[in-house]
């Protein structure tokens, strides 16, 4: 790219969960670092990036439908590039370029940082690039980031999931749980607060189990407390414990509520106990598929029932 050329424009289309929204902020950050600019509203971009979801079948259908719509657009626009990343890319890999040969780049959940290089390689070699890693090497948190909001921010505490919920494809696409160190998370939160952010949402495929990688079962509640003590700003909390669940922290600016709210959130996170047969209905916010029939305990599926219990923090 010469210095007199107009910068190439990009657009990121995000599907699925808040973790994808978080990752898309990194995709945008990476692209802007590499000299791309956001395409103005309503204009077709030079580079279109799909950050995809695979949690339900209609997500599959949606991607291929969208790629189909872009084929004639790209045909009329030499130099346009299409990249597909996210969970559906991690799942389908080169099937994407087989079904949609006009796609230039396929990248997965573990190599978000490779996007600019892959786009360049595809452009120079005039050949589609498919690069999928089998596990996470670098947290997307550390990549250049373009945050969409001035007052709210997404912060990832972990990526991946060690559960085996029988209905869920996510662990196979996001990998085993890897936890960010508390110090790094808190440093990110502090930096955000310094920039004016007062609402931070902590993200993970399974925030409740944060700390499993370094053997601290209290880690998530400690993290909540630390965010509450905060880095100068005071906090309120709304807690949503669930796989893929997130926690919201709100700056009410007075600091008084921080301890109470963090403790309340802690109680919500760790106050759940294993459920025995005949118990009153589950405490809210833990979805357990009711697939288990009494007496089926010997087989692998019966084992899943116990695992639902064990994954609750005690």
């Amino acid at each position: 790219m010469t210095s007199t050329a107009l910068p190439r424009t990009y657009q990121v289309r995000t599907y699925g969960c808040q973790m994808n929204v978080h990752d898309s902020e990194r995709l945008s950050g990476l692209l802007e670092d590499a000299g791309y600019v956001a395409a103005p509203e309503g204009e077709t971009a030079d580079v279109v990036v799909f950050n995809t979801c695979a949690v339900r079948e209609n997500a599959d259908n949606r991607l291929y439908g969208n790629l189909g719509h872009l084929a004639p657009v790209k045909a009329k626009r030499p130099g346009m590039q299409i990249a597909v990343g996210g969970c559906l890319a991690q799942k389908d890999r080169s099937t994407i370029t087989r079904k949609a040969p006009w796609v230039d780049v396929v990248f997965g959940t573990h190599n978000i940082g490779s996007l600019p290089v892959l786009l360049e390689r595809a452009r120079v070699q005039e050949e589609a690039q498919v690069e999928i890693l089998e596990s996470l090497e670098v947290f997307p948190s550390t990549l250049p980031t373009k945050r969409e909001s001035a007052y709210a921010a997404w912060v990832s505490v972990s990526v991946g999931c060690n559960n085996t919920c029988t209905f869920c494809i996510v662990p196979s696409l996001r990998g085993k749980e890897k936890d960010r160190r508390p110090g790094e998370i808190l440093a990110e939160v502090e930096a955000l607060v310094a920039e004016g952010v007062s609402e931070v949402t902590l993200l993970g495929q399974n925030v409740n189990s944060y700390g499993v990688e370094f053997g601290d079962r209290q880690a998530f509640s400690k993290l909540l407390h630390a965010c509450g003590d905060d880095r100068g700003a005071g906090a309120g909390a709304v807690h949503q414990p669930a796989p893929g669940g997130v926690h919201r922290r709100r700056d009410r600016g007075d600091g008084r509520d921080a301890e109470r709210d963090a403790a309340a959130a802690h109680a919500a996170a760790v106050g759940l106990r294993p459920r025995a047969a005949g118990d009153a209905p589950l405490l809210p916010a833990v979805e357990v598929p009711r697939h288990h029939r009494p007496g089926a305990r010997g087989d692998a599926r019966g084992g899943d029932h116990d695992r639902h219990h064990r994954r609750l923090p005690r």
Binding site: G16, A38, R56, R147, A150, G253, A268, R290
Partner: protein
């Protein structure tokens, strides 16, 4: 934590789910008093154990149960929202969360329980200046809908925050030199909306 709002995700139609199982799900929703729930019809995913389970539930049964669940979820959410009519709440003013705000002359914000509140853009009691996204306002809830609240009448108090300041700085910033950007300040003009809550088709 009586003031907590608890939401959840619910899948209906898991293989082997009986009508009795499903009614138990409805009971949980009623007893838990969820402020809201993301609800889904079970989707068979390749490579998962559930995809191989016997007794996959027929699509029309799943759809029927789903619609019944949505009705109960909406009814409970609305009841819980109605309990807040007449209360004062402090909101963080949001951006991009009110589709109809221009037409209804309202702004939108979220309370400490993350409930969405559309409030009248009447600043007569707070000195006339509009709050910015990120600022905190105190309003009185006047109406409850199933999934949001409305607070008409003058805004009762305004607290300008560093977040509001940050929002103002961002929207005033000129378009930067694309070659030098690492923080990606947006261009002049209407700021980008906040990312939506997850809704996957």
């Amino acid at each position: 934590m009586p003031e907590a709002a608890i939401t959840t995700d619910i899948i209906v139609g898991f293989p082997g789910e009986t009508e009795e199982d499903f009614r138990a799900t409805l009971d949980v929703v009623r007893q838990a008093r969820f402020a809201g729930a993301f609800t889904f019809q079970y989707s068979k995913r390749p490579g998962t154990p559930a995809a191989e389970l016997p007794d996959q539930v027929a699509p029309e049964v799943v759809k029927d149960r789903y619609e019944r669940l949505v009705d109960v979820v909406n009814e409970i959410a609305w009841d819980e929202n109605k309990r807040l009519v007449g209360r004062e709440v402090e909101l963080m003013v949001a951006e991009g969360e009110g589709r109809k705000d221009a037409a209804t002359h309202r702004l939108s914000g979220r309370g400490p329980d993350n409930r969405l509140v559309h409030f009248e853009a009447d600043f007569s009691a707070i000195g006339g200046a509009a709050p910015r996204p990120g600022d905190m306002v105190t309003v009185g809830v006047t109406y409850a809908a199933p999934h949001h609240l409305v607070a008409d009448g003058p805004v009762k108090a305004l607290r300008r925050t560093r977040s509001g300041d940050a929002w103002e700085r961002r929207t005033a910033a000129p378009t930067p030199d694309p070659a030098g950007v690492s923080l990606g300040m947006p261009a002049v003009g209407v700021p980008a909306p906040l990312p939506d809550a997850p809704v996957c088709g």
